[in-house]
């Protein structure tokens, strides 16, 4: 699954630590999400979507090849 997390974070002008603190997760989790190594739970996906004021589909792009 691909995502636009890094792009959205940079647009907002915050670093990984700040995003991690806002979402209540570790900085490593943000790094792994941005690299596509880790797929978030539905709860975290909702938190991220709510934080950026977008829908989950706008941030996370489902793709069969990325399973």
């Amino acid at each position: 699954m691909k995502n636009r997390l890094e792009e959205l974070r940079k647009d907002r002008g915050i670093n990984q630590e700040e995003l991690a603190a806002a979402l209540g997760v570790s900085r490593q989790t943000i790094g792994s999400l941005e690299n596509g190594r880790y797929n978030p739970s539905i709860l975290l996906a909702f938190k991220i979507a709510r934080y950026f004021g977008r829908s989950i589909e706008e941030i996370f792009v489902y793709g069969e090849e990325g399973k």
Partner: protein, 143 residues
């Protein structure tokens, strides 16, 4: 406050247990069977519990002075990725443990070890597998 009390309780329980062990060593000079080992088990367990309590209290004391660090540690502990990694590592270790236990049982049986030892290993193995099946059923009903 309750958690602080738990640390204190552990320290006290550990100290009391270790003291009982020391007392038993002096009180029973010609002890036989299990009573010969019991004092040392008491001292060992007492020291372990005491150390755990002291560590717990020291941790709380240090965290009280650095609330930001405490918050960060709580985030690391509750982090869903960390939990997923930990659970995956435990699952791998469980698979490995079953293999090791099975190999140990066969080895002991082939070495002609005492039947009680082999049976203890078999019961431990069955207990672990039984616990696995129990939680499998429990979580299937819950999820």
């Amino acid at each position: 406050m309750k958690k602080n009390n738990l640390g204190l309780l552990l320290i006290l329980a550990g100290a009391v247990l270790a003291c009982i062990g020391l007392y038993l060593i002096h009180a029973q000079e010609d002890a036989q069977g299990i009573l010969r080992v019991l004092p040392f088990v008491c001292i060992g367990a007492g020291c372990g519990i005491f150390g755990h309590g002291v560590g717990d209290m020291a941790n709380r004391w240090a965290m009280r002075k650095h609330p930001e660090l405490e918050r960060q540690m709580q985030i690391e502990k509750d982090d869903e990725r960390n939990i997923a990694i930990s659970n995956r590592a435990k699952a791998k270790a469980y698979d490995g443990m079953l293999f090791v236990l099975a190999a140990l049982m066969v080895s002991f049986a082939l070495m002609g070890a005492d039947m009680a030892v082999v049976l203890l290993l078999v019961f431990a193995y069955l207990f672990i597998v039984g616990e696995f099946i129990y939680y499998l059923n429990k979580y299937q009903k819950e999820m």
